[in-house]
């Protein structure tokens, strides 16, 4: 198979350079104005989109024979995913919506251990404080939807019970807690908040599994800076290779002819997200039928 070309749109220069340095089996070409993608030659291109999904434009990419990898940041709607997945199928190209959170090295490591040394997941705990979000759009916050996806990916199964509670802080944000129950007895507890003072965010993931446990917590990855008074905590980042890992999997899968469709996984995520909203509205736990 000839070398693929990865056209990176709506991603900044540093992100493109980071992927270009690491990617095997494809060359990287940044595209500053992605509406001009059609001026780039070659129908075997892969387009990696880092911004908001514009339906008409992506449909044109797919129609033009491009495979499209869309980062779920922000998350597209389930309708958009459905339409574009159908279009990709009819055009014989691949379309995938990928949650970048799955490609954090810590998340990749934990996922690889599950089913192996750790055994089956029994309790997943995911905690996120986001101090950088803009005013709330209707519906669930995007990071929480991505965390639902991450949780289901780690659990490897779908929940049958959803309970959610929240606290709102006028225009300034909200705190949301989501509690999932799985048919096997496993459970997950997620929370998300965004009204913290601006500055660093914080994440913590614990997976309690049948034969062990994994804890990926920003708390563990803090270094200390002393400049008088109380020390400052500085996180050592793990994100440097995140996008490259994500792109590599897509490129490898294309070269190996693997199906990359993610629409059914996102369908489940959105069904759970809908149940979260219904639980918030009704103030009770929501049963999800076995799917």
């Amino acid at each position: 198979m000839p070398e693929l070309r990865l056209i990176m749109c709506q991603l900044n220069e540093a992100q493109c350079a980071g992927v270009a340095r690491r990617l095997r089996g494809a060359v990287v070409e940044p595209c500053a104005d992605f509406s001009q993608f059609h001026t780039l030659s070659g129908v075997r291109d892969v387009v990696m989109l880092g911004g908001k999904a514009e339906l008409a434009l992506i449909e044109r990419m797919l129609s033009g024979g491009r495979h499209v990898l869309l980062l779920a940041n922000p998350c597209p709607t389930s309708e958009v995913i459905e339409v574009l997945s159908d279009r990709a199928r009819s055009e014989g190209v691949q379309f995938a919506v990928v949650n970048p959170e799955r490609y954090l090295p810590s998340r990749q490591l934990i996922r690889k251990q599950l089913g192996g040394p750790l055994g089956e997941a029994g309790l997943i705990r995911l905690h996120r404080w986001d101090s950088s979000t803009s005013p709330e759009a209707p519906g669930l916050p995007d990071p929480l939807v991505r965390d639902l996806d991450l949780t289901l990916w780690l659990a490897g199964k779908e929940p049958n019970r959803v309970f959610a509670i929240e606290q709102k802080f006028n225009e300034e944000g909200r705190y949301l807690q989501v509690h999932l129950g799985f048919p096997t007895g496993a459970m997950a507890l997620l929370d998300y908040t965004n009204p913290l003072p601006s500055g660093e965010s914080y994440q913590s993931l614990s997976v309690i599994a049948a034969t062990g446990a994994a804890h990926a917590d920003d708390h563990q990855n803090m270094q200390l800076l002393y400049r008088g008074g109380f020390p400052q905590a500085l996180r050592t980042e793990e994100r440097a290779g995140q996008l490259a890992a994500l792109a590599q999997e897509f490129v490898d899968a294309l070269r190996e002819g693997r199906d990359l469709s993610t629409s059914s996984e996102w369908k489940t995520v959105f069904a759970v997200a809908d149940a979260v909203e219904r639980s918030l509205e009704l103030g009770k736990a929501i049963a999800l039928e076995d799917r």
Binding site: G122, L123, R125, H127, W129, R161, F163, I165, E166, Q167, F169, Y175, Q177, H179, G181, T184, G185, A186, M187, A188, L189, D191, T193, P195, L196, P197, Y202, S204, S206, I208, A210, T211, G212, A213, H215, D217, H219, G283, K284, A285, A287
Partner: protein, 367 residues
């Protein structure tokens, strides 16, 4: 000037956790003077009581009322099998003795109600043994009280004990009988894994839930109004065979709009090198706190280290001393303890509601 009165304590059964009695004895104002239990207690219980009495060079009397009356006792330290907690505490309270009791408060609501009534009618002090004075928990409370994170609006506690409890789930061969709860707990005493000692099976949330729920109430001063919970017997055959949980998660809707949660489990020795991950997350209007309950700690690693030996050792922990100190002050000043009877009852009710939620799959009001 410091009070100097020394309080004489009777240990009413030391069959479960003798650390409660030892904790009280670590304080100079409390003196263990007698161990007592009922004559009809099983032989293994008499043996444990005698052993404890011998270790402390005090008599063992097989008559609770006689011991309480004849040894000039002011304080009863109650740590029998879980289903006898209330009856022994009630009998001591009826004789005007102050009570220090092991967890859980009770195994039944009716028993808990009677205990509250007995304590309040007698006007005695009550302390449920707890971990609220761990250095990191005190630190968290001080930070919150000082306004470091503003007004708290959410709090979570991870509370995992990295302990085994017999063979793993799924290990029972076809045709073999289920594991007997009480026999298993009696045998588990040797390595301290007998958290739910008693005839009635009790899961991890029912037995240990008091700790994380105690932290939440201690740090925020709020009370739980409604819960949603999930639980499972995920790790251990003895829990699966007896229909009780070894892993649970609970959502808490609390007074004043505060939202809380706990994740709790007896999740296996292999899951942590030093006893288990215990962590608190507290969110407030001005900031947030992430607290590791194990700190301060020291890492100790060496050749030929035993597999069960903690690699990280907690230091500067004065929980036992501070609980006893708080109790002494409560007696002196005739005030409530850090976890008095009403606070203990509120936690019992929260756990009971959480277990009901696990059964029904719905959120449950705490009554």
């Amino acid at each position: 000037m410091a009070h100097s009165r020394k309080y004489r304590c009777a240990v009413l059964s030391a069959v479960k956790h003798d650390y409660v009695a030892r904790g009280m004895a670590s304080h100079p104002r409390f003196e263990l003077v007698v161990v007592a239990d009922d004559p009809h207690a099983p032989q293994w219980a008499h043996e444990r009581n005698q052993q404890f009495a011998d270790a402390h060079s005090i008599p063992y009397i097989r008559d609770v009322e006689r011991a309480l009356k004849e040894f000039d006792i002011q304080v009863a330290i109650v740590s029998p099998e879980a289903e006898r907690h209330c009856s022994l505490s009630i009998r001591a309270a009826q004789l005007g003795k102050h009570i220090v009791q092991d967890k859980p408060l009770a195994t039944r609501r009716a028993d808990a109600d009677q205990l509250v009534e007995a304590i309040e009618k007698a006007g005695v002090r009550f302390l449920m043994w707890n971990r609220n004075f761990m250095p990191a928990v005190l630190h968290a409370r001080e930070q919150v009280a000082a306004g470091a994170i503003g007004t708290p609006y959410a709090i979570h506690v991870d509370f995992y004990f990295a302990k085994d409890s017999g063979p793993p789930r799924g290990s029972r061969q076809l045709g073999y009988p289920p594991i007997n709860w009480e026999a298993h707990q009696i045998a588990a005493h040797i390595d301290g894994a007998d958290g739910g000692l008693g005839r009635e099976p009790m899961g991890e949330l029912a037995v240990e839930g008091i700790y994380p729920l105690g932290y939440i109430c201690f740090i925020t001063g709020s009370t739980v109004q409604r819960v949603f919970a999930r639980s499972t017997a995920f790790f251990h055959q003895v829990h699966a065979d007896n229909g009780v949980e070894d892993l649970a998660s609970v959502s808490l809707e609390m007074a004043g709009g505060l939202i809380g949660s706990i994740a709790i489990g007896r999740i296996g020795l292999a899951s942590h090198p030093s006893g288990g991950e215990i962590k608190l997350h507290v969110l407030g209007s001005l900031g947030a706190l992430v607290i590791s309950e194990a700190r301060p700690e020291v890492g100790i690693y060496h050749k030929n280290q035993a597999p069960k030996e903690s690699r990280q050792r907690r230091v500067a922990g004065e929980n036992d001393f501070l609980l006893a100190d708080d109790f002494a002050l409560a007696l002196d000043e005739k005030r409530d303890t850090v976890m008095g009877i009403r606070a203990s009852y509120a936690i019992f009710a929260t756990v009971e509601s959480a277990l009901e939620s696990c059964r029904t799959g719905q959120a449950v009001e705490v009554r």
